[in-house]
């Protein structure tokens, strides 16, 4: 109890000291908070996206088989469908017919999908919300395409994907397979690739190996690989951002060092007087410990809460530009709020730990100054 009381008194004293130099300390606190906010936003955002990708892609086809020729992707002949379906353990093989469409007026890339069992007939499309937002001249619910032979084709918007699925469907334009082939000129006996469903997911690798033996130039892509790719992608992306931000963290550490070493004459006199009236070295250390602790904690809380609101309530508007690049179309999505201790620990390690370590030596220097030395100077 006595120990606790003592720490409280030290804290009281420290807070008064901090408060007396409001301007300087608040400025420092602001910079500290900002650093934590940015780093924390990066960590929250990338992890939330990573979890989202993991969850959503869980239902992707177990395997996609592309055809490669001379190192380029080729159309997949439908003739191979039977060959793959006859492999033991394969439940179904379905040709996927899809491609990209560049809309010159808005400079946007869209994804076209041709469905065999398209409900709305040959002169209609079903589009994502992003298409509605960006296509520009949506007149009377119609989209005008330029076909492969240069002729115009107008298709009616029969339905739209719900806004909730924007993260996967924002730029999709779905139509019947016949329309797709007419629009893009893809021959009838070809598809873009195959999606393969497998009975036992554990056998994927074996089946993939067999497929490469049967179909010349086949390139199977497993769902596990895709999920892993996304994991690596977000890991790498956030790591890269941190590396870029490390310059800022370093600058911040230098300023913290500078703040702790370059004490004003007033502060030095204060320490000298404290030692003069009987404070020991460990008391000064304790006081300085509380000074660092109060500032770090306040910055940490403010930064983390700010980042949480930024990422999960406002979908990280500050990062939108980096993600968007030159693309016109950007999905609107809200990330599922989920934070674990691990992310907070990483954040703590990236910000508070360097700050604490950097300030150890300057603080010690201050705390061991002899009172007479300081007072004589003052």
């Amino acid at each position: 109890m006595k120990w606790l009381d003592r720490q409280r008194c030290l804290m009281d004293f420290t807070l008064s000291c901090v408060w007396r130099r409001k301007g300087k300390n608040l400025g420092f606190l602001l910079v500290y908070t900002l650093i934590i906010f940015v780093v924390c936003s990066v960590i929250f955002f990338s992890n939330a996206l990573r979890r989202q990708a993991d969850a959503v892609l869980h239902d992707a086809p177990e395997m996609i088989v592309q055809k490669m020729m001379a190192g380029r992707q080729e159309l997949m002949p439908l003739a191979h469908q039977e060959d793959i379906a006859s492999i033991r353990g394969v439940r179904s093989v379905e040709p996927r017919v899809w491609g990209y469409y560049f809309h010159p007026a808005t400079q946007t890339n869209y994804t076209l999908i041709g469905r065999k069992d398209f409900r709305h007939g040959d002169d209609a499309v079903e589009v994502g919300q992003g298409v509605l937002r960006t296509w520009g001249a949506v007149q009377e619910d119609k989209l005008y395409f330029r076909m492969v032979d240069g002729k115009a084709l107008d298709l009616k918007i029969a339905a739209t994907f719900s806004a909730a699925t924007d993260l996967v469907s924002a730029d999709l334009i779905m139509m019947s397979q016949a329309t797709f082939r007419r629009l893009t000129g893809m021959p009838d006996q070809f598809a873009t690739d195959f999606s393969v469903r497998v009975r036992n997911p554990q056998e994927c690798t074996t089946i993939a190996e067999k497929i490469t033996g049967i179909v010349p130039g086949a390139r199977p892509i497993l769902r596990e690989e895709i999920v892993r790719t996304y994991s690596a992608l977000f890991n790498w992306r956030s790591g890269y951002m941190i590396v870029i931000l490390s310059a800022a963290i370093l600058a911040f550490c230098i300023s913290a060092w500078d703040k702790a070493t370059g004490l004003s004459a007033e502060e030095k006199a204060e320490i000298g007087i404290l030692k003069g009236v009987g404070w020991g070295t460990s008391d000064i250390l304790g006081m300085k410990f509380w000074e660092g602790m109060t500032v770090s904690l306040a910055a940490f809380f403010a930064g983390v809460i700010g980042a949480y609101i930024h990422v999960f309530f406002f979908s990280a508007p500050f990062f939108e530009h980096a993600l968007k690049g030159w693309s016109i179309l950007y999905p609107s999505f809200r990330l599922r709020p989920e934070v674990n201790l691990f992310e907070l620990a990483v954040l703590f390690f990236l910000t508070v730990v360097p700050y604490t370590f950097i300030t150890i030596i300057p603080i010690w220097r201050v705390s061991v100054t002899d009172p007479d030395l300081v007072m004589r100077q003052g």
């Binding site: 989202q52 924002a170 892509i221 892993r228 949480y308 693309s327 709020p337």
Partner: protein, 100 residues
């Protein structure tokens, strides 16, 4: 009032707020997000999609896992890229595997 009480009160309320945001709010809003997720999964399963629609600026950034091996600037994993998001996207594991 003692300054330390004010500060401790502030820290405690921040801690409570953070605890609420990290541990309670996700549960409260779970139903809504579960519904969205179920919807997204349905679309993915139905249309046999393989990628998120995050970077639609170029073919090979739109469908990261389905990219051509010889898309411009993509041959060398660390090569400069024309598209901004290309500088952020890591060469896929598939590609990294293939380079000796």
């Amino acid at each position: 009032m003692r300054r330390s009480s004010i500060y401790l009160g502030f820290s405690l309320s921040c801690l409570v707020a953070l605890g609420f945001l990290c541990f309670i709010y996700p549960h409260l809003s779970a139903e809504q997000y579960d519904r969205v997720l179920a919807e997204q999964k349905r679309v993915v399963r139905d249309l046999q999609l393989t990628d998120l629609c995050l970077f639609s600026e170029a073919r090979y950034t739109r469908n990261l896992s389905q990219a051509d091996w010889h898309a411009p600037f993509q041959d060398n994993p660390m090569a400069f890229d024309t598209f901004p998001s290309g500088s952020l996207v890591r060469p896929t594991v598939l590609l990294a595997d293939d380079t000796p």
